[in-house]
Structures are given as C-alpha cells and as structure tokens.
C-alpha cells in the first residue's frame, strides 16, 4: 500500500492552496482521508484522542443496514415474480438465485441514483464551502432507497434526494445541522409530490402494472387494513386478514412493502449492531416500540372495527415501524439530544406512528410523518429537559 501513500503525497501539493487544482481540494481530501486516516496530531488540550471518528460511526450504521438491504433485494425479487405470475401463493423460498437477481435489477439502480445525486450535491457544497465531504450522506444515501417502493421511477428518486440534501440539510449548514431526518425528507417529498407513485396498490411490486392477470393487485398489508376503515374492506374480517398476512410472515418480512422496511427480523439484527456498538440509542429504540405497543393496546381497548381490533403486537411488525424505530428515529442529529429527552421522543414517536396509521384515512402508514413531526418537536423536548437541569441549579442557589 506504500505506492498509494506515495502517490497521494505526490499529488497533494497540486490540491493545497496555490496548487493548480486548488478548487478540487475537497474532492481530493475526501479520497485521501478515506484511504488514510490523516496525520493530524493534537494541538491543544488533551494530547490523545479516542479512536472513534465520524467515518467509523457512519460506516457502522451502513453495516447495520446490510441485512435489510440484502433481504430487501430478495423480497423485491420475490414480489416482482409474484406480480408477473399474478399469483400471491408463489413459494417464498424457491428459485432464490433468480429472485435475487431480479431484485438486484430493481434495487441497485435506485441505490446508485441515490448515492450519485446525493454525493454529487454534497461535493458541490463541499467545494463551495471549502471542506471535504462530511460523512452524513453515506448513511442517508442508503436509507433513501430502502424506504422507497421498488417500482418508484429513478428520476423521482433523484429529485427527492436532491430536495432532501439541499433543502433538508445543506441550507442549514450540512451534516449535523439539519432539523429533519434527511432520508425521511426525501421520502416525504416524494410522497407528497408524486402520491400516485408512492402509495396505493400499483407501486410496491416491480412490474405490477404489466401483470396480465385480471383482478390481481399489488396491495400491501397496511393498504388492506386501511380499507377496513372504508365502506369496501378488502377482507371480510380480521381473521381473513391474519390468514393472508400471518404474524410470522410479517415479522420475517415476506410481505410487499418499501424495499428495506418489510423485515422486522432484519431491522432487529441492525438494532442489535447499533445498540451493541453504542451508535444507536437503546433508549430511543425501546421507547419507540413501547409507544407503538401502548397506542396499539389503547386502540384495541376502544375497538369497533377490524383495524382497531388488530392485535397491538401486529402493528410493530407491519409497514415501516421497525425500520423507522431502528434507523430513522435514532438519527442523533434530529432526535432529542438529552438522555431524558430521548425517552419521551421515542415514546411519542411510537404513539403518533400508530395513531396516524390507524386513524388517519389519508395515510395508510404513519411512521414517516410521526418521526418527522418528532424531529420538529425534539428541540422542545430538549428545552424542557435543559430547563429542568437549570432549575435544579437555581433551587440549590436559593437553598444556600
């Protein structure tokens, strides 16, 4: 690896101030610091520093996302096959190789577009501001594809990503400064700008619009559940629903949905990685699940129709709930920053997610909106925690 180091040494003078490619320094620096931890040494204060840095932290999140990605590719392939065959009863674990390849054909372009557009814009801003790439988008770039429907047109992914990176993050100052979760901003943009491509029963299976079978729909569990609230439910009663979508299927993720969100099991593997390494907040994840469960139980207690009667634990494995709890709510920049605040933040997030999911007829899924809403509320939660701390100090002053 010595030649690479020598090469970087040789190239460096061209990129520093006064060099002929000075403008491209952020790009060079990003590459160089990716390949080599730079030789920066401490100048002030503590002479030694922890081994951890933002690159390793972000890379750990990407590792945690890999189970979801791989399973998502396979699942996309499966439902794409289902759509072209028009038969929902296709064996899930058969023809694994072809399914994976079909899935890859749908998912890989989305991932590539998301990274290309996002990183391109990040570099542009980096060059304008004269700093190298800050690592935040490495994770956002992977989260965006995983929250999109498999059939989403690529240009839509590109536009949403561009919107999220520019309006959601860079105008606030870049990584660490944003108010809303970047990946969810992208999804929300697509959701409201192109609703027909982001919801309904035409988008969740790649190629479903070309199906030759009459009466076949690419509906999802949540779409079918929402129909209980209308005059024309898809299923006659709750039992018919749970026969079609068993708890285990939903837990494993063998149901249609956004690319990476369907498998609760894979999300839990990701959660284990995040919690074990300490990158993701245990408090947020646990309280988010608790909030969802509490709201589910509350709705059960009210009851009245099949959706309200759906067992509370079912809510936790359907839709993007687990994915949102593990990967979206835990984003440290947009979550509450105080330790006490994180508990309330997660709890209200979980409660709102299920509340919107069940009671709002316009949106079959509420996780995205709940987390975005809590992103906005997080500073207020923190404010009260901080005020509590300040008050304790003032009380001591009065007592003294």
């Amino acid at each position: 690896m010595k030649f690479l180091e020598n090469y970087l040494h040789k190239m460096e003078p061209h990129f520093v101030k006064g060099g002929k490619w000075e403008k491209w320094n952020p790009l060079f620096e990003t590459m160089a610091t990716f390949a080599y931890t730079p030789k920066l040494v401490t100048q002030k204060g503590a002479h030694i520093r922890d081994g951890v840095d933002l690159k390793r932290t972000m890379m750990t999140v990407i590792f945690a996302l890999i189970p979801c990605l791989i399973f998502g590719i396979y699942n996309t392939g499966h439902w794409s096959m289902v759509a072209s065959a028009g038969d929902r009863d296709l064996a899930y674990w058969a023809e694994m190789g072809p399914k994976f390849l079909i899935g890859l054909q749908s998912v890989l372009p989305i991932v590539v577009v998301s990274y290309a557009v996002g990183l391109g814009i990040e570099f542009l801003f980096g060059m304008l501001r004269g700093h190298s790439l800050h690592e935040g988008f490495l994770v956002s770039g992977m989260l965006i594809p995983l929250t999109m429907p498999a059939d989403c047109p690529l240009w839509m992914i590109g536009v949403s990503t561009a919107f999220a990176v520019i309006i959601g993050k860079e105008i606030f100052g870049g990584t660490g400064m944003n108010i809303l979760n970047v990946a969810l901003t992208a999804r929300a943009f697509a959701f409201f700008a192109y609703p027909t491509s982001m919801s309904g029963d035409k988008v969740w299976m790649a190629g479903v619009e070309n199906t030759k079978v009459d009466g076949f729909t690419g509906s999802t569990a949540l779409g079918d559940l929402a129909s209980f609230m209308s005059d024309k439910p898809v299923f006659s009663d709750l039992n018919a629903f749970t026969e079609s979508y068993s708890f285990m299927d939903a837990f494993m993720g063998m149901i249609p949905g956004s690319i990476g969100e369907t498998s609760t099991l894979m999300c839990l593997i990701g959660a284990a990685i995040l919690i074990l390494t300490g990158v993701g907040s245990l408090k947020v994840i646990v309280s988010f699940f608790t909030g969802g469960l509490v709201m589910g139980l509350l709705l059960n207690a009210i009851g009245g129709n099949a959706f309200l009667d759906l067992p509370a634990y079912y809510h936790l494995v359907l839709g993007g709930f687990a994915f949102g709890a593990v990967f979206m709510a835990t984003d440290p920049v947009t979550a509450a920053q105080t330790e006490t605040g994180k508990i309330y933040y997660g709890l209200f997030g979980g409660i709102l997610a299920i509340l919107i999911r069940v009671l709002n007829p316009a949106y079959p899924e509420g996780v995205m909106l709940a987390i975005l809403f809590m992103n906005v509320m997080a500073p207020i939660i923190d404010h009260y925690v901080v005020q509590g701390n300040i008050k304790r100090r003032l009380n001591r002053l009065k007592a003294a």
Partner: protein, 453 residues
C-alpha cells in the same frame, strides 16, 4: 463526618508506562524557568533584570493587577534570560543555578496560633500564594476573595498519574501544617477527599482539622472539580480555592522552616520513557538533563503534566508550575491506511470509550496511544457520549455549545461556574467531533470573567 461519593460515570484511560515507586535523590537543575503563561490571566510585572543574582524565595515578578501576588525563584543563581514573545509579552524568566541551593530566610509561622492575616501575608510574601487556585474561572486565588471552602484531593486519577500516597509518605508534619494554614484562609471547611477504592496513606487518613470524604469510581474522581460538585457544589458568586496535595506539603514546609523549598517528587511516565520512576526536583526545573537518554525513539511528544491536561514541551523544556508528572508518548504524525490501522481497521490498538473497537472486550489491557487525532474535526453528530464520562449534574454538550456560541446567559444557566477546562478533558478525549473542548471552555470562562465578574 465522612461521606463516600460513588461515581457511575467516568473513564480510566489505560496507558502503558506507569512510574515505578522509586524516588531519586534531589537533582539540582542547571536552570529553572518560570512561565507566566502557567498563571492564566496574570499580567507579570518584573522585579528582576537579566544578570541579577537571586536566592530561592526572591521575587521574580508580581501580578500587575494584584500586586500582592508574587512569584519567586525556586533556586538560587543568576537571572540569565527573560524570553519575550509577541508585543513583548513575557514568556519565561530563566534563572541559572549557581551550583548550590541558597534560600532567602523568612520567619517561620505557626499557622495554628497565627492569625489568618499573618498566614496570608506569609504565603503572599514568599510566592506560595501561586499554589492556591480559585474557582470559578481557574485563576490564581485572589487574596481579597472569601472562599466558601478549600478543597484538596488526596489522589490523582488521571492517566499514569503520580501516586500521592507514595509521594507524600512520611511527610505528615509538613502536610498537616499546610492544611492548618489553609484552614486559616477560609471561614468554611477545608475538604480533603480520599480515594475510596484503595487504602490511603496515613499522611491523609490522620489529617486533622479538615473534613475528610472519599470518592469511588473512575477518572475524573480525583479531580477537585468532581469532588466539589458532589460534596459542596458551587453557586454563582461563590469562590472555592483548591490546592494540589504536594503543594500543601510545600506550603507546610515553608511555614515550618522559613524556606521557599518547592522540592517535589515528579513522576516520569509514558510508553516512550525510560527509567520511569519518581524524580525529586523543584518547580520549574529544566528537564534537559533528566530527559537525555530517557526518551525512546525520536518522534515523541513530551508533556509536562498528564496526557489529558498537560502542556507540550520540548526536550529542553521545563516542568510546569502546577505539574507533578512528565509523560512521553509517541507522536501520531503518520498516515494510517484505513483498513490496517486507520479508521476502518480492526483497531485492536485503539482505546475507545465507544464499543466501535474490539478493545472494550479487554478490560485489563493497557495501550500505547499516540497523538493522532484519529479523524478530522466535524460538527456535533453523536449525542450522549460526553455524558458518559462527565459525572456532573450538568449537560456537557449543551454547555460546550453555549461556550462555542458565546452565549453568556446559556453558560451561566448551564453551570459554567462549576467547571474549569480540566473537568472537560475526558469529554474532549471521547468526542467524535475532535473539537478542542477544553480551549472552548477556557474561552467561555474568559468571556464570563470579562462580562460578569
């Protein structure tokens, strides 16, 4: 009354290179330097000229704003150099030894029978006042202030720190005299805080006239800041003075003998140091002869003090005024390939408070850490990591942000009066952002002093 405080938060950074518990004979240095920079916020006014003869205890300079606060030479000899920096600021006053140690004679004072005014004047006159530090703001104590308490820590918990039980063993008389003197300086208590996790030397356990508490847990348990916060927290408008345990003995020695004898045991530590043991020397001593032959390799950082709060010095540097150890660690000015020993490598050689490196599975292993920052500076992204090593009822990240944004109200509300930079040293160590938190806090404190005091 004796309490034990249990700390749950904190971090012991396990480094290679503790000093062996062997003390050298007294080494009279060829020269000493006193650096006014060691006394934050002081404007020195010289009383000596180059070429002038001085004895140990003769005044070198005093504080322009508090003329009673004086700094004295710690050896006898000739003032050889006054090193100035930008705008003729005095950086160092150097005294070259005349080969023997002659002391200016002061009257001995018995602090038990003397009035507090007499004790104060005696300490001010002979330059011992410099050893008394004041919180908030972390300055040399203002003799006009009334401290609500004086704190002395009986142990140092920072990495590779000298063992005070060894250093002060047998020095009961001087240490007790020093405590008696401190007792006269405050209307409140003198607090001596022991390490609850290991038995303390009789010099501490037999101390009289002070309130003895103990504290258990990891670093920063030995920091006076942590002890003050848990034992007698400070409020706005209050002052607390602190004195290092070895300096208490120096004060006691002066009162008992009438000599300004700053001899202390200094630990030579760190993975790149040879002959790691305790060396007997005076404050400000030139280290060039000690360091010669005791440094492994040539790409090292020499630190006067510990790795978290010490000052970088050169191989011909001097011992800082408040330091009790010298640490030598490797410089980290090499590129590190990302998969080998860089940011994505397995990292068996990286000590981290996060569990992103496998080293958390080896709770006994000691590390040879270098000065590489292990990453570039970034904005705050990760939350909660500072809280884990900050055993105060203060929100560290919020306070640091208030300091960075020069938010005076915010700093006051969030508890800036209870902290000094060294309290944030561990935060600075663990922080993913690589922001220099200690200097941010220092600037915040300077702003507070300017605007609110």
């Amino acid at each position: 009354m004796s309490n034990t405080v249990k700390l749950k938060k904190g971090l012991d950074i396990r480094l290679i290179g503790e000093a062996e518990k062997v003390a050298s004979e007294f080494i009279l240095p060829t020269s000493i330097s006193i650096k006014p920079g060691d006394f934050h916020g002081m404007t020195p006014k010289l009383t000596v000229k180059e070429g002038q003869e001085v004895k140990a205890g003769d005044v070198l300079f005093f504080n322009k704003h508090q003329t009673s606060v004086k700094c004295c030479s710690t050896i006898s000899g000739t003032v050889t150099k006054i090193i100035r920096g930008e705008k003729r600021r005095i950086l160092e006053v150097q005294v070259t030894s005349n080969g023997t140690q002659e002391f200016k004679t002061f009257n001995t004072v018995d602090p038990v029978s003397a009035t507090s005014e007499e004790v104060k004047n005696a300490l001010l006159e002979a330059g011992l006042w410099m050893f008394i530090k004041e919180r908030p703001i972390d300055l040399v104590a203002n003799p006009d202030h009334e401290p609500k308490a004086i704190f002395v820590s009986a142990f140092d918990s920072s990495p590779l720190a000298p063992d005070y039980d060894f250093v002060l063993h047998g020095d009961e008389n001087n240490f007790q005299t020093g405590l008696n003197a401190l007792k006269k300086l405050t209307a409140g208590n003198v607090y001596l805080t022991l390490n609850a996790d290991s038995p303390s030397d009789s010099v501490f356990t037999n101390a009289k006239g002070v309130e003895i508490n103990s504290i258990s847990g990891r670093h920063p348990g030995g920091n006076v800041g942590t002890q003050i916060h848990h034992i007698s927290p400070m409020n706005k408008g209050e002052y607390v003075w602190t004195v290092n345990a070895q300096d208490v003995a120096v004060i006691g020695r002066f009162l008992n003998t009438g000599k300004f004898d700053t001899t202390k045991l200094i630990a030579l530590t760190g993975s790149e140091a040879n002959h790691r043991k305790y060396y007997k020397m005076v404050v400000g001593a030139s280290l060039s002869s000690l360091l010669k032959g005791n440094i492994v390799g040539d790409n090292v950082r020499i630190i006067s003090g510990n790795v978290l709060t010490g000052d970088k010095i050169e191989a011909d540097g001097v011992l800082g005024f408040y330091h009790n150890q010298i640490t030598i660690i490797p410089e980290g000015n090499q590129y590190k390939f990302f998969l080998k020993d860089g940011w994505m490598g397995p990292g068996f050689d990286k000590f981290s408070n996060s569990r992103l490196f496998p080293t958390w599975m080896f709770p006994k292993k000691k590390f040879r850490l270098d000065t590489n920052t292990n990453g570039e500076e970034r904005a705050f992204v990760v939350t909660g990591e500072l809280d884990k090593v900050f055993p105060f009822d203060i929100l560290p990240m919020q306070l640091v942000k208030a300091a960075i944004t020069q938010d005076i109200d915010g700093m006051e509300n969030l508890g800036i009066y209870e902290v000094i930079p060294e309290d944030f040293a561990l935060c600075e160590y663990v922080c993913t952002t690589k922001i220099n938190i200690q200097s941010e806090i220092r600037e915040g404190l300077d702003l507070i002093q300017q605007e609110c005091m």
